[in-house]
């Protein structure tokens, strides 16, 4: 869903700014998450903010833990676990 990608990207930059992490200038599907500038604490915060915004945390919902490596995989996980409305 294109909506969640925009939200994720917007919050990504906001969390980066709030945590003082220097982020890459543009984020693509193939951008490797842990090379994007956001550190693991930043990621945890991003996931918490996304739960506040979107109402769910896919990492809590999943049965078998899946760890995304790229931004594209990260967004895909959010799409996959989006609650059916």
């Amino acid at each position: 869903m294109p909506m969640s990608r925009q939200i994720i990207e917007k919050l990504f930059y906001e969390v980066g700014q709030l945590t003082g992490c220097p982020l890459v200038s543009s984020i693509e599907e193939s951008t490797v998450l842990l090379q994007s500038g956001l550190d693991s604490l930043g990621f945890a915060i991003l996931v918490a903010r996304l739960e506040q915004e979107l109402g769910y945390d896919p990492f809590v919902l999943m049965d078998t833990p899946v760890y995304p490596t790229t931004f594209g995989e990260f967004v895909e996980i959010y799409n996959r676990f989006a609650p059916r409305t």
Partner: protein, 405 residues
């Protein structure tokens, strides 16, 4: 307390040992391989060794030097410690042991402020596991030796036999350390569950032929254990519970979170639960050590629920809610605040703050950003609230204290 500062000169080991025998020494090293060598040399020679982590803040170090009665500083950094003794590598003969050296390590302690804990080689090596015959563990060192997590790996590799691969340098990025480990065929690694989750995200673990995975410092969740078992079929998966203050602990290698309930009230383990609050305690001889950790028994398994005193474990870092509340209360818009733990699948926990704004101050995204920046300027990154929620009122307990969720 008078600290003797010697002129900066380089000593060969023999001369060094003469100088340091029976003394209380602080070791301030940037290079972990050199520190590893210095410890081996000085254990059994000095009366006491204070291990100073490189990341300890400048204000704490002189306090520790003073309170420990340290009289000499040994270092590999002449420029930072111009009056200390500089340590030189030297392939000399191992010295005769004279004494039972006391090891002092900084730890965050239960109040959150760093303090020194005294150990002996006996108490520290209590957790060292004997290694199966024929097995050679090639350990990677992910933490500084003066930190408990690093020290455990250092001792395990020395006393349990095997090889220790030590990254040498300042602030080497994680992927650089993993690459070093891969080049050196590291097959055993110990890290916090949070670091393991991060390593799983990087995909870098694929390059390591791991046969021993150890988790410690935080609660090892079943999900993380399962993910590691899936990534390394057949790996020996161990999670350890250790109290840095008491130097005690145990390890679990059955692949399940928690530990067997049967270990409780078994005289050979010394483990018991306080029935009033579910606190895990160790009985050793006549003494009872209470760990401050909350354990719950479900069926034949005992599970860790967290700290009883409410300290929040963010990726292995202890956060006292009061410390964060005090900072937020310094901001003019904050009337009341309650800081609590927010469960995080990645970090274990994050910090959450519920704030009642002062009359006339409007809760908004801008205020949220301002409060976050206010915290960032005064606290460590892991202490800064990940989520700030504005509420109308805060729950208080019968005696009027803020009730944290």
């Amino acid at each position: 307390m008078h600290v003797e500062w010697l002129a900066d000169f380089e000593l060969r080991h023999g001369r060094l040992l003469q100088l340091l025998t029976g003394k209380r020494v602080a070791l301030a090293f940037r290079s972990m391989p050199l520190l590893a060598e210095a410890i081996l040399l000085l254990d059994g020679i000095c009366e006491q060794m204070l291990l100073l982590p490189a990341d300890l803040d400048a204000a704490t170090t002189p306090c520790f030097i003073e309170s420990s009665g340290t009289t000499l500083v040994l270092t590999d950094q002449g420029d930072m410690w111009p009056d200390a003794i500089r340590f030189m590598q030297d392939a000399g003969m191992p010295p005769q042991r004279h004494a039972e050296t006391a090891w002092l390590l900084p730890t965050s302690g239960t109040t959150g402020a760093p303090k020194l804990i005294s150990h002996t080689t006996a108490s520290l090596s209590r957790s060292v596991r004997p290694v199966s015959p024929g097995r050679v563990n090639r350990w990677g060192l992910l933490y500084e030796i003066p930190r408990f997590a690093g020290l455990q790996v250092y001792l395990q590799s020395l006393l349990g036999g095997g090889i220790l691969v030590i990254p040498d340098g300042v602030d080497i990025p994680l992927h650089g350390q993993i690459e070093l480990f891969a080049r050196n065929r590291v097959n055993a690694l110990s890290a916090t569950p949070t670091l393991w989750r991060k390593l799983l995200m990087t995909g870098a673990l694929e390059s390591l032929p791991l046969t021993q995975i150890t988790l410690g410092g935080e609660i090892a969740t079943q999900a993380t254990l399962d993910a590691l078992a899936a990534a390394f079929p057949g790996v020996r998966l161990t999670h350890v519970y250790a109290s840095t203050e008491f130097g005690v602990g145990f390890s679990v290698s059955d692949g399940h979170a928690g530990f067997p309930a049967a270990w409780l009230n078994d005289p050979s383990t010394g483990l018991t639960l306080d029935p009033r609050n579910g606190e895990l305690c160790f009985r050793r001889g006549e003494s009872l050590f209470c760990t401050g950790d909350h354990v719950e028994v479900k069926g034949n398994r005992a599970y860790f629920l967290g700290r009883l005193n409410g300290s929040i474990n963010v990726g292995g870092n202890k956060v006292m809610p009061e410390a964060v509340e005090n900072v937020l209360l310094q901001h003019s818009a904050v009337a009341l605040v309650a800081v609590s733990a927010l469960r995080s699948p990645l970090m274990g926990n994050l910090v959450k703050a519920e704030i009642v704004a002062k009359p006339g101050c409007t809760p908004s995204d801008d205020l949220r950003r301002e409060l976050t920046a206010h915290c960032r300027a005064r606290l460590q990154p892991f202490q800064v609230p990940a989520i700030i929620a504005f509420v109308e009122a805060l729950a208080t307990s019968a005696n009027g204290k803020i009730r944290r969720v």
